[in-house]
Symmetry: C2
């Protein structure tokens, strides 16, 4: 049997799945940022009338899923799988959204890499002929993440400059066997790397090696160079991690130019929005992708984009037990 | 393009993936149970010299993964993906095991349905021609789950009779494009159902509707009856859930006979082991499958088995916020 693989870690598609539609819901802070106008919808506050932030996050994900589904013009019965994940314990935002949506559901955990990972798996399920259409969605929420991963939100403790700000939002795409839209042409599934970083307020430094490893393997597998992409965008290393990743890749002989950027860097304005190293959370790369990047792929400004989801795979328990942070990067190639 | 689907929710395989090998590691209580002799390895205690139960769980998973890999006679370089998941927040047992194993890693969350779900996805990745071989593994640990989901382990609080006992263990299989062994011929991916059960000490009742829905859809998709299987085994409804599921299926016109059982019921001896409604946890169905069921498939005692993983998709946070328990069932067909 022929394998749809190239090099060591990359899969390619015989009939590259189409991104039929995308939808992004953002929190108010994200709406005020430089990409504010690219989001499908901006919530006025982070709870939006729900009884808890956790319920709000799940509802936000539902809105994104419903939005992408509606824009795809597909019927409910045409969606064969829904793939979703988030940062909350037992991915409850996704589970509760899946309950409402009613589709056969596959729960994914890849921390902040979940959007790229789910798009990769969804594409394999479609090109493998197991689905006509797959609905993908991920979410994160500043207030749910803050109290789960860090400190009580009322605490108001000072964050170090290397810390990132969890994005409140939800992004969704509909992947399809056929139709009109940008196509996912390949994916590189990452390995877990851990260089011993233990500071959960410096996840950019923790994630940089794994993300750089995936980028390096991806380029080697295809024998491509960074200039073969209009944009190589990580999601989300933040300022600290992006600089480190550039440095790591440079030492491996890969010179990243201006087309190398990070969703966590792009989503907030460093001058007016106090987020230190940038944005993070599953929603960060998903709403930057579902909004700005999709729009530029459709307009033709981008011909080929490499979206590299980055995941920090620790838990508060593992951190308290003194473990370092295992990390991963998953990449998908999207072509106009 | 031809679709490898039948009915509404079931996928079938053109070249059904082979289960090349399986390996199960069990805790001491599980080792003393009726299936004790079927496990590849039994730990003398639940910590086995590790510094915490969480580290022990991850090491147990590593042992299972290494065991299955060794028995498959494959080289490290022949494994294209590792799929794993567990019950802990941010699936840390799997993430840390993936760090050691070094394979391209896909993290799955399906609560106690994770083994069946991972086997389904792994089979799709292989039959879709994206992988030659896939390593699948899941774990759970009584002591890590107890303190995360319920009460401090030192507390010694009384458990209601409907409660299940989280199995300490880890199960792993190697799925392959070709080779000798039982084959995965189909999979039915479940939908999230929630009939309003809020009692986290009665997960069998919460899960029964979703599991019954998947069994019903599976049988309808294939136009099969229960007698077409030597074993239809859920993992893990426990005694309460199994009875409820029989009742639900009966009302839907499906009479389940003696071949309908549950991994949580099979793994402990109700007379001598005080577990109330039975076992639970990702490990429960995975070590019953990797041990007893695989052995009976290889010996020819079973020709066709339906393994129905059942997942209770709540979190302690959602339960404390008064939400009911969303549940799911995923089924895989294994044939000798």
């Amino acid at each position: 049997m022929n394998l749809k693989r190239i090099g060591n870690q990359t899969v390619t598609f015989e009939n590259p799945p189409v991104i039929l539609s995308s939808y992004s819901v953002a929190g108010p802070k994200e709406g005020q940022g430089p990409l504010g106008k690219t989001f499908s919808k901006v919530w006025p506050d982070t709870i939006n009338g729900n009884k808890s932030w956790e319920v709000a996050e799940s509802k936000m994900l539902e809105e994104a899923l419903q939005g992408a589904l509606k824009q795809s013009n597909l019927q409910q019965s045409e969606i064969d799988f829904m793939l979703a994940g988030d940062l909350l314990n037992q991915i409850i935002s996704s589970n509760f959204a899946a309950r409402t949506m009613g589709f056969p559901f596959i729960g994914i955990f890849g921390a902040c890499s979940t959007m790229a990972l789910s798009m990769a798996i969804g594409s394999m399920l479609i090109d493998g002929q197991f689905a006509r259409n797959v609905l993908v969605g991920v979410s994160s929420h500043h207030d749910t993440a803050e109290r789960q991963f860090r400190l009580p939100t009322e605490h108001g403790s000072q964050r170090p400059m290397s810390a990132q700000w969890t994005v409140t939002g939800a992004g969704s795409v509909v992947l399809a066997q056929s139709g009109k839209g940008p196509r996912i042409t390949a994916a590189t599934i990452g390995r877990v790397l851990d260089y011993g970083e233990k500071d959960v307020n410096n996840m950019g430094a923790a994630m940089a090696p794994a993300v750089s490893d995936t980028i390096l393997n991806h380029l080697q597998d295809f024998n491509r160079k960074p200039a073969d992409y209009d944009l190589i965008v990580t999601g989300d290393l933040g300022n600290v991690g992006l600089q480190l990743s550039k440095e790591i890749l440079k030492r491996s002989g890969i010179e990243m130019a201006n087309q190398f950027n990070d969703c966590g860097v792009l989503i907030f304005d460093p001058a007016s929005q106090d987020v230190h190293s940038g944005g993070s959370g599953c929603a960060c790369s998903s709403i930057v992708f579902a909004g700005d990047i999709m729009q530029k792929l459709i307009s033709g400004q981008y011909q080929r984009v490499l979206l590299v989801g980055s995941g920090s795979l620790h838990s508060p328990t593992s951190a308290l037990q003194g473990e370092s942070i295992p990390c991963i990067g998953h990449a998908v190639v999207i072509e106009a």
